[in-house]
């Protein structure tokens, strides 16, 4: 069976921060995911957690969830592109 990549990646990050001083662990994971994960990856992570499928996720990842930015608006509303302005 194919590994669930997203869960695997999240847990891998948690593994690194596991050795960080207590209190900094979940924050480390959240900062890392906020910094490097594209919104659709974060969306998938939220979908999983929101639907309660958390059994494979490290507790540190779960602890990070409140600090992970929930992608709010779809991309179209976040940025405009030059092509649109030219088209009008």
């Amino acid at each position: 069976m194919e590994r669930d990549k997203l869960v695997y990646m999240a847990n891998q990050i948690a593994k690194f921060f596991e050795s960080a001083p207590e209190g900094a662990r979940s924050q480390g994971v959240a900062d890392h995911i906020n910094k490097f994960w594209e919104p659709r990856m974060r969306t998938q992570l939220f979908e999983r957690v929101d639907s309660g499928r958390t059994e494979d996720l490290s507790p540190i990842v779960l602890g990070a969830m409140p600090s992970i930015r929930r992608p709010a608006a779809p991309l179209e509303e976040r940025a405009s592109k030059q092509a649109d302005e030219h088209a009008s």
Binding site: S19, E38, Q82, A83
Partner: protein, 953 residues
């Protein structure tokens, strides 16, 4: 334009600070102590005749042509071997000297063929010049006596020939091989009249000898004895342009010597600050790919990759691609397309690609091939020091006392820097060489090579770098070897204490991790003591550090070691990532990562984004985009549909080929912009022909942050430089982009990126090159970083817990496969496979220890099947004890090997950099290529069909 003639001062420059004043031919000259009379004369503009001397190596004093007279001294000393002294009065020309020189030349010429007019070196021959300089008009001895004429030429090297008849046995080639390259392949065999230059043993020719074809001997030869075959065939060049090699991250400067638009040869440039006049077989000779018949020069399109290609006009190809991009975005959303920039392209080209993606596509789905090599360097050095770059220049190695090489194979991957490193390791008369620690699963050449032997080779098991580095830190902390003064002054003290307590834990001791790393604890302790107490210690590392599931952790561990021992911020020390491709550093600097704008500034930073938004007239997305592996995942899931891929062969170079091809197959648009129909192009429906580095202007940034100019020496055979192609596409999707020259792009980079603020083409022309940061604080660049303080302020220590990779050996896959490269080939081989370099390496081989081979009934040269959890391939075996039992090794230069069918999709926790260096495998005897390899060959043939454009009525 004319041919650039570099001054040969005859002997190397002296580095002494004290100066000496003397008189040469009545001119007063002041030079550093230790300078030779020959060099001092040249400083005064007086060229003393010479044959055996050249400033790339130490004086030898054999030809007796450079004799001079010194007032108050007897005889006629050789000016090359005589150092200057205060108040000396020297004559370089008088009746006695003239007579001696003429006599010497007369003897040389009496045993030299007089075929100057038909000789390849005609007009570029020092022997010819000297015969003229000394006024030789006749040879009284005649030419009938015993001589060396009519000897057979050695044509075995693909790029140069050796004609012993023309040899004057000045031994410049031998000394170049020893002193400059450090291979010691050449020797003078015989004595007196029987003296001959010999490569290897009596039975060898140049090809079969240890010669690595670096070209140093050819460069050194004052006659036509060692001559480029290209010069023999074409003739001598008439003009030259200084440019930068497009192979590895060393970034050597070369003179491209031309005749019209034809490249005659590449000659290493002495003023090049990365290479100091040296070269390797790739940069010096492997240029044939630029004019290879496989190069695609016309744009091509097709609706689906199963169809044959259709050659079309640039307009049609660009229009087709732009329409597809718009259609895909309209249908699947703005985030459904992206781009990959190339570490082989210029800074300006990379900048333009990321600009098109961010401002034109309107998302941040831009990544670069550094993802699969040095992205962990970015993460690790940024976290600890505050910026993603090597801390030193290459010259720094000259002041190093202890060199620690981990996960790098410089003699193959970075050969010109390796030669400089070897020079320092050998030392010189009266000056001991640097000590050497090698941490590598394989016995790389550097471990034992002529006149060099590693003090410690820690042959660890693949995948255990973090355990090893943390054990080294354990020894340094617990044995009291920390440079506390440095740490207190320069680093966060609390974090240091936390880290020190962490590494001091008994579970990190060399004894505790011995069972994991497989390296005897005492050896680790000795290496740690040497690194911490041996003087200036410098770490050099490569992809053997980064391409692991803990790649970023290893980089952090390296940074920790250097801080703890105070080995940062001055010459001779530092942390030096050896970059793989010519412009990996530059492509990262230029904002190729999906989360960073140029200059390593996060996309969520409003102020930085506003700088670009104002200039580009668009609003930018503030969220990070997809990284390359995420792009493949999203493509398979169906949310990513279009990709512009410039100068990278992701199908061959990225791990887990089957997953990559599944991703590429799922795309509706794949634009490949390249010199060749590479493996990725099998799945493309738009092909935009690229230009070679000889055909464009721009800059490359090498591993020491050095920004070097790339200069156009011929018109692009495909019609456009690569930045122009990207600009055409950007215009077609509606962007207002109108650069007329790459210098305008650099001006925009400088205007937006503080670390490049002072960089201009004028400054680069004036200085030759500069190392960023180059701004008001460092107006001429910064050879050494973190001199007065770290870029981030205070250095940050971070704990590095070893976590074993999930890629484990077991009963089904008991061996560990690790990968690397070889001197003669480069990366996926797209360039070097299309040059004479294939004579050295025409296929990838699997290195296997005799013990493992015997157990499986495998003999040297047998086909073996190589299987992992990801896939299988077949490859020929090479039995060697370079690898330890339980470890096998191969290169990935040839597409039919498909080594990446075997590698898994495990990756670095922080950056998704693939874990190329550890794959659990099994091998078994085999009859030949696997079905998959055969099918793939067919697919490739099928996919490369081209229908020529229909002629217009």
């Amino acid at each position: 334009m004319s041919l650039i003639q570099e001054i040969d001062y005859g002997t190397p420059a002296s580095t002494a600070e004290k100066t000496v004043t003397l008189t040469i031919d009545g001119n007063e000259v002041t030079v550093p102590e230790g300078t030779s009379l020959m060099r001092a004369a040249m400083d005064a503009g007086i060229q003393v005749p010479k044959l055996c001397a050249t400033d790339m190596m130490d004086a030898f004093g054999s030809c007796r042509l450079c004799v001079v007279e010194i007032e108050g001294r007897n005889g006629t000393p050789a000016s090359c071997t005589t150092p200057v002294a205060e108040g000396m009065k020297v004559s370089t020309q008088n009746e006695r000297l003239k007579k001696i020189r003429k006599g010497v030349m007369e003897l040389y010429i009496s045993d030299h063929p007089l075929d100057c007019l038909t000789c390849a070196a005609n007009g570029d021959c020092e022997l010819q010049d000297m015969a003229g300089a000394v006024g030789l008009r006749e040879v009284r001895y005649g030419y009938e006596g015993e001589n060396h004429l009519g000897k057979e030429k050695d044509l075995s090297n693909p790029y140069f020939q050796f004609d012993p008849s023309k040899c004057i046995v000045c031994s410049r080639c031998v000394r170049a091989c020893n002193e400059v390259q450090g291979t010691f392949a050449l020797t003078v065999s015989g004595r007196g009249f029987d003296s001959l230059i010999s490569a290897g043993t009596d039975y060898d020719n140049f090809f079969s000898s240890e010669c690595v074809s670096c070209g140093a001997c050819v460069q050194a030869c004052p006659t036509a004895t060692l001559e480029e075959k290209a010069v023999v065939e074409i003739g001598t060049p008439e003009h030259s342009v200084v440019t930068t090699c497009a192979y590895c991250g060393v970034g050597c400067s070369f003179k491209a010597e031309m005749r019209g638009e034809e490249l005659v040869r590449m000659v290493p440039y002495k003023d090049g600050k990365a290479n100091r006049g040296h070269s390797c077989v790739k940069g010096r000779f492997a240029l044939g790919y630029a004019t290879h018949k496989d190069r695609i020069l016309n744009p091509m399109i097709r609706d689906h990759y199963s169809q044959p290609w259709r050659e079309v006009s640039w307009d049609e190809a660009i229009g087709f691609a732009a329409k597809k991009i718009k259609d895909i975005q309209a249908k699947y959303g703005r985030g459904s397309v992206g781009g990959i920039s190339s570490s082989r392209c210029t800074n300006e080209e990379v900048y333009v690609v990321q600009k098109m993606v961010r401002a034109g596509f309107g998302n941040n789905n831009i990544d670069t091939c550094a993802r699969v090599c040095h992205s962990p360097t970015g993460y690790g050095l940024n976290s600890t020091y505050g910026t993603s770059a090597g801390t030193q220049d290459f010259d720094s190695v000259e002041d190093t006392d202890v060199i620690l090489v981990i996960g790098a194979n410089p003699t193959d991957g970075h050969p010109v820097f390796a030669s400089r490193m070897k020079k320092r390791l050998r030392g010189k008369p009266g000056e001991e060489g640097a000590k050497l620690i090698v941490i590598d699963p394989r016995r790389i050449d550097l471990v034992k090579t002529p006149h060099i032997e590693a003090d410690h080779h820690l042959a660890l098991k693949p995948g255990t770098n973090v355990a090893m580095l943390t054990a080294l830190a354990h020894v340094i902390v617990t044995e009291g070897l920390v440079n506390e003064e440095f740490v207190r002054e320069r680093c966060e003290w609390d974090e240091f204490q936390d880290w020190a307590a962490f590494v001091a834990d008994e579970r990190h001791s060399p004894e505790a991790v011995e069972s994991v790393t497989g390296v005897p604890a005492e050896e680790v302790r000795k290496a740690a003591r040497l690194y911490a107490t041996g003087g200036n210690a410098a770490i050099y590392y490569g992809l053997g550090v980064t391409e692991h599931s803990q790649g970023s952790t290893s980089v952090i561990a390296i940074a920790n070691l250097a801080m703890a021992t105070g080995n940062i911020g001055r010459r001779g020390v530092g942390v030096n990532p050896l970059r793989g491709q010519n412009n990996v550093q530059g492509s990262c600097d230029m904002g190729s990562f999906p989360h960073e704008l140029p200059g390593y500034r996060h996309i969520s930073n409003d102020a930085v984004r506003e700088t670009f938004e104002e200039l580009w007239g668009v609003k930018l997305d503030n969220e990070p985009g997809l990284r390359i592996p995420n792009m493949f995942d999203a493509a398979v899931e169906g949310t990513f549909k279009g990709l512009y891929c410039q100068g990278e062969d992701i199908l061959q170079s990225d791990p887990d080929t089957k997953h990559v091809s599944a991703g590429l197959e799922a795309l509706e648009l794949l634009i490949v912009h390249d010199l060749f129909l590479n493996e990725t192009a099998n799945y493309a429906n738009v092909f935009l022909p690229g230009s070679s580095f000889l055909e464009k202007n721009g800059t490359f940034t090498n591993a020491e942050r050095r920004i070097n100019r790339v200069r156009k020496v011929m018109a692009p055979k495909n019609g456009y430089e690569d930045w122009e192609v990207t600009q055409l596409l950007a215009q077609a999707i509606g962007m207002d982009m109108n650069y007329a020259h790459p210098s305008e792009i650099m001006a925009e980079i400088a205007a937006t990126t503080p670390s490049f603020a002072n960089v201009t083409y004028d400054l680069l022309d004036e200085k030759g090159s500069v190392q960023w940061p180059c701004n008001d604080q460092f107006p001429e660049g910064a050879p050494i970083m973190h001199v007065d303080g770290f870029m981030r302020g205070r250095g940050k220590f971070i704990r590095t817990e070893y976590v074993a990779t999930d890629e484990r050996t077991g009963p089904r896959f008991p061996l560990l496969l690790t990968t690397g490269r070889i001197l003669s080939q480069y990366n996926v081989g797209a360039q070097t496979r299309r040059t004479g370099n294939v004579v050295w390496h025409d296929q990838d081989l699997l290195e296997i220890h005799p013990h493992d081979a015997e157990q499986r009934g495998v003999r040297d040269g047998d086909w073996v099947k190589l299987q992992s959890r990801a896939g299988e391939t077949s490859i020929k075996a090479k039995i060697t004890d370079r690898v330890a039992p339980g470890v096998v090794y191969t290169t990935f230069h040839h597409p039919m090997t498909q080594a990446n069918v075997i590698t898994t999709d495990f990756s670095d926790w922080a950056t998704n950099c693939p874990e190329y260096k550890v794959t659990a495998v099994q091998i078994s005897p085999s009859n030949g290529p696997t079905d998959w390899q055969e099918d793939y060959r067919e697919l490739t043939m099928e996919s490369r069909r081209i229908m020529p454009a229909e002629a217009a009525e």
